[in-house]
């Protein structure tokens, strides 16, 4: 769901196809459009864009009320041991059933939630734990709360399971028919196939892509899938899981080692002026306190090692490791508000490297106009992208709305090296780090991205070298020493390329005393004696000179010696759940890791006798659990991290060790997925009185108008999407003759019914418009698109690929000119997969 895998990730799609041919796997595709993926699947169910939570919620309802789920002991054992189904929730909690579609805690203005009522019921806090772990850990230990209260019989009305049962009771096959627009029979086929292919001997997988993320309820759609998979016992097991198909070579890496405003590398939060983050101690206690009974109990080690990496020798215990000099965020500084602040003239200088917001940005017209407000901009890319050329020939310049003479932006274009022209690593969508070697120098003045940032940093550090000012301490003391060893650059013309190895070694972490790489994140310290850029990558450089991302020994299953899967070469996360509560494999067919009571653990008891028993993985898979913790081990109450977690707490990154069916903290829009209509929709919400996600991110500014619910001027639903022949905003494809030839022109997929209503003929031009913009495209009238009947009303949907811009060998209008800036409240992603529009025959300006 939410993915056209055959088109957008075709090589990965070979594997489900192989599973079908070799193992009779059933492939099902639930998507508004009939795509290349649908054509290759056994089942295609069309649903209206934005109705996913109704479909998934109804599967959850169907599953937990089914005979199979209630009678097969597998499901009960998995759910009671590995999820929070049995946990009791605060009696103050009120569900959407009681509050007309919102949860308890909604602020009087309806724009934000306080989540205190979503919390667990807990036993009394334990007696304070003994110190001696470290300066910050000792403080965390004093904050450990009591264990959550549970009812393993799942009967208590306040237990998570009963709350879920009530919450999803109204998500019926009939409701699916009315809201999603498919038939109840089509729905039941999918629900039963999933249920019947989950259990002790079989697992099912759910795969998604940006078709699920780009919504005002994007996070909650994915949550619904994760809940369903947890209820079906499909997490942590081979063939199970929820797979995100991400779209860029190292988009996972740029999330892990975040160049994102809210995150430090390896999922530490960014210091925030609005929180109690005054000192490093405040920061650690605020961020780690609520999660310290998970593996995040090691937060002090991760944080101190990060600040040591940042400021090197200048970071000391006395100066809080330089924490005082590190920037704090003060609000949402993500892509959309950043471009809006740029449009308002607040941002003066802009680095755009390898992205093309003039085409790829939501409400791209507004983003192009924002670029004209800058004092200066640096673009680094291969070709003269639309972003680089906005001042010269953008639609706004051609129309006379902007004049080059009035655009004061000083623009630099710096040519970039191609991947084959530099050494480095990518992290793929399965968390696998893979090294690419350098094959040749880049041509002319083209340089690697790292070269640019390293050189810029050197020049700036020179400028601030003698500054006595406190505000310059951070840049002055930034540890910045990645000059290559002579042998690294000996074969090449360019001699000042920073050392990719030194960078990866710092990301991996090493000891301060002897610069020795850390083999595992278990060796990190909170006393300043280790440096580590991103703890989750520790192990990629386990010893000096060894790069596990460059391992290239495949096998016929997990291939543990091909690249390096973070964390610690674990390919299937939470794989403790691949064994039952006693540690035995659920079945021979689904064996992955299990407890071997006879194996030598490698440790000795106080009397010096070898201790028996450890987790084993014949495939070489990394074990995502404490290797010698027996399944029956009971965690200590006054403890942090692994010491608190018990032998069946498989979900080691959660502070209760369980998969979260109900989310007590961490989401801003509710503890359970709930159907809200897209921000722009042709229909009213048929499930609740509340129309849209009440806390969705909305920006009511000039140039970003929204359409009303069921607005007669904009009656048609539209999704933007991608094609196999192009990449994103087209920078890496529209300039390539082979790809430009394969897919030369922008088109719009339209159903024959809509074409007839609007007098549109196949291959002729159509104009699509919204309150934000207007574009023209060729009409592709196809039976792949079908109108939906939503509660008796006909709803048309069209689809537009968004790869085109005015530059390159395949030029066309910018589909993102149509899109509004409106976003998911948890992650500020935009709602590009569903909004409303109108369409007419003919080109812009009335031409045919």
């Amino acid at each position: 769901m939410g993915s056209n895998m055959a088109e957008c990730h075709p090589v990965a799609f070979r594997w489900p196809l192989k599973a079908r041919t070799d193992h009779d796997a059933v492939l099902m595709h639930v998507d508004p459009r009939f795509t290349r993926t649908s054509a290759a699947c056994d089942v295609h169910v069309p649903i209206r864009a934005g109705s996913d939570i109704v479909f998934l919620g109804a599967i959850i309802n169907h599953v937990i009320n089914s005979k199979r789920w209630n009678e097969d002991p597998f499901f009960r054992e998995y759910v009671v041991n590995y999820t929070n189904a049995a946990t009791l929730v605060n009696p103050e909690f009120k569900d959407t059933e009681e509050l007309n579609g919102v949860f308890s805690g909604l602020a009087p203005n309806g724009k934000s939630y306080a989540n205190a009522s979503w919390s667990y019921q807990r036993n009394a806090a334990p007696a304070k734990g003994k110190g001696g772990l470290g300066p910050f850990s000792d403080l965390l230990l004093q904050q450990v709360p009591g264990r959550p209260k549970t009812d393993p019989s799942l009967q208590d009305p306040q237990c998570v399971f009963q709350i879920i049962k009530r919450h999803f009771a109204r998500y019926t096959p009939d409701l699916v028919g009315r809201v999603c627009g498919c038939t109840p029979e089509q729905f039941l086929k999918v629900a039963d196939t999933l249920l019947n292919n989950s259990g002790r001997d079989r697992t099912s997988n759910i795969t998604y892509a940006v078709g699920w993320t780009q919504h005002t309820v994007g996070v909650q759609i994915i949550r619904a899938a994760a809940m369903l998979q947890a209820l079906l016992g499909n997490i942590g097991r081979p063939g199970g899981g929820v797979l995100a198909l991400r779209g860029h070579a190292t988009i996972q890496g740029s999330t892990d080692i975040a160049t994102l405003y809210h995150s430090l590398p390896a999922y530490l939060n960014m210091p925030d002026g609005r929180k109690n983050h005054e000192t490093l101690k405040d920061f650690i206690l605020t961020e780690a306190g609520p999660v310290a009974t998970s593996y995040w109990g090691n937060y002090p080690k991760f944080a101190v090692s990060y600040f040591k990496a940042q400021y090197g020798a200048a970071a000391t215990a006395e100066n809080d490791y330089g924490y005082n000099y590190h920037p704090r965020i003060t609000g949402d500084h993500s892509h959309m508000p950043m471009m809006l602040d740029m449009a308002a003239g607040k941002i003066k200088g802009f680095f755009v490297m390898g992205q093309n917001p003039a085409v790829g940005g939501q409400n791209a017209r507004l983003q192009r106009k924002a670029l004209a407000k800058l004092d200066w901009m640096v673009v680094r890319d291969y070709f003269e992208t639309e972003t680089a050329a906005f001042w010269r020939n953008s639609p706004e310049v051609l129309s006379g709305e902007l004049k080059p003479a009035d655009i004061k932006t000083e623009v630099f274009f710096l040519p970039a090296a191609a991947v084959a022209e530099m050494e480095g690593s990518f992290t793929n969508t399965q968390r696998l780090l893979q090294q690419h070697d350098k094959a040749a120098d880049p041509p002319g003045d083209a340089r690697s991205d790292s070269w640019f940032t390293y050189r810029l940093g050197k020049l700036l550090k020179e400028m601030y070298r003698d500054s006595p000012l406190e505000l310059d301490w951070g840049i002055k003391n930034l540890a910045w020493d990645y000059d290559p060893e002579p042998k690294e650059v000996a074969p090449w013309r360019i001699k000042d390329e920073p050392s990719a190895y030194k960078l990866l070694k710092e990301i991996n972490g090493y000891t301060v005393a002897d610069q020795k790489p850390l083999a595992t994140f278990a060796n990190l310290k909170e006393d300043g004696s280790t440096i580590c850029g991103a703890w989750i990558y520790t192990g990629v450089v386990p010893e000096e000179g060894k790069n596990n991302a460059a391992r290239r020994k495949p096998d016929d299953w997990i291939s543990p010696n091909w690249g390096f899967a973070w964390p610690a070469n674990r390919h299937i996360m939470y794989n403790r759940a691949s064994a039952d509560s006693q540690g035995n494999p659920w079945s021979e067919a689904k064996k992955l890791i299990y407890w071997d009571p006879a194996a030598d653990s490698g440790t000795k008891d106080p009397a010096g006798n070898p201790v028996k028993g450890k987790w084993v993985a014949p495939s070489g898979e990394g074990i995502d659990f404490q290797p010698t913790k027996a399944p029956g081990f009971i965690g200590k109450d006054a403890a942090l991290g692994f010491d608190w977690l018990s032998g069946n707490d498989a979900f080691i990154m959660r502070p209760d060790g369980k998969a979260w069916l109900f989310v007590p903290a961490g989401l801003v829009d509710g503890p359970l997925p709930t159907h809200y209509e897209p921000y722009e929709s042709p229909v009213k919400n048929l499930v609740y009185q509340q129309q849209v996600n009440p806390v969705a991110k909305v920006w009511q500014v000039n140039g970003n108008s929204y359409h009303a619910v069921a607005d007669p001027k904009f009656p048609i639903v539209v999704s933007t999407y991608r094609l196999t022949e192009h990449h994103l905003s087209g920078t890496m494809s529209r300039w390539l003759p082979w790809l430009a030839e394969l897919m030369p022109e922008l088109f719009c997929e339209i159903s024959p019914e809509l074409a007839q209503e609007k007098g549109i003929k196949n291959a002729e031009y159509v104009t699509i418009h919204t309150a934000r913009g207007e574009i023209q495209a060729r009409a592709l009238v196809t039976r792949r698109m079908k109108p939906f009947t939503i509660d008796g009303k006909k709803v048309h949907e069209i689809g537009i690929p968004w790869h085109w811009g005015w530059q390159g060998n395949a030029a066309g209008d910018v589909a993102n000119d149509l899109v509004a800036m409106v976003g998911d409240p948890n992650v500020s992603i935009h709602e590009g997969k569903v909004f409303t529009c109108d369409i007419r025959a003919g080109r812009k300006g009335g031409r045919i």
Binding site: E7, W376, A446, M463, A500
Partner: protein
């Protein structure tokens, strides 16, 4: 049913070819302009360097072939990779043209404020100018402290050590090593408008 490798490729090839592109051809869309620029398929001969496909996040292995003269002459799927076993999709198969492309810019271009044209500039000049602009913009717009809501309806002076005048937007096909280096420099400067394609 077990499939031979050859038969498997046959089964799966339908996925990546044809489809919408073929339909557009039938629509009469003119591909001549693009076709005229299509390069000849190079010969695979020379030193083989392991690489990774620069497009989507599947992470297909590639082999870059380099001639004796040190030029990249071919890029194909790596048959050893357990991910793609030598196959590539249309984009991956076209990677060679991303490297060897007449339209690729290989010199620094500069557009002065208000100008209607690009000028060519030396790389070193551009780097010094960019560093100077970065410093000036930062120094003129740096906040050590800021009044922020105290949660009780008032405000309180908090340490922020940041600048809102600089912004950075990166792509997600750039190395892990660059991401690390770049976040480090931006955080060193106090930049908080730090974003990446990974957001969207």
């Amino acid at each position: 049913m077990k499939l031979s490798r050859r038969k498997f490729l046959k089964v799966t090839s339908g996925v990546v070819g044809g489809g919408v592109a073929a339909e557009l051809g039938l629509l009469g869309v003119n591909t001549a302009a693009a076709a005229a620029k299509a390069n000849k398929v190079p010969i695979k001969k020379g030193k083989q360097v392991p690489s990774i496909c620069p497009y989507c996040a599947v992470g297909c292995g590639q082999i870059v072939t380099v001639s004796d003269a040190g030029e990249i002459v071919d890029i194909q799927g790596n048959p050893d990779s357990p991910i793609n076993q030598g196959t590539l999709c249309p984009k991956g198969s076209a990677t060679f043209q991303l490297v060897k492309n007449e339209e690729r810019w290989t010199t620094v271009k500069y557009r002065a404020p208000g100008s209607d044209r690009w000028e060519e500039k030396p790389l070193d000049w551009a780097m010094h100018r960019i560093a100077e602009l970065t410093r000036k913009t930062r120094d003129a717009n740096f906040n050590e402290f800021q009044d922020l809501p105290d949660g009780k309806g008032g405000t309180v002076k908090k340490r922020v050590m940041n600048t809102y005048a600089l912004a950075s937007l990166g792509g997600a096909t750039m190395d892990n090593e660059w991401n690390y280096l770049h976040q480090k420099l931006m955080h060193g400067l106090g930049v908080v408008y730090l974003e990446n394609q990974a957001r969207i």
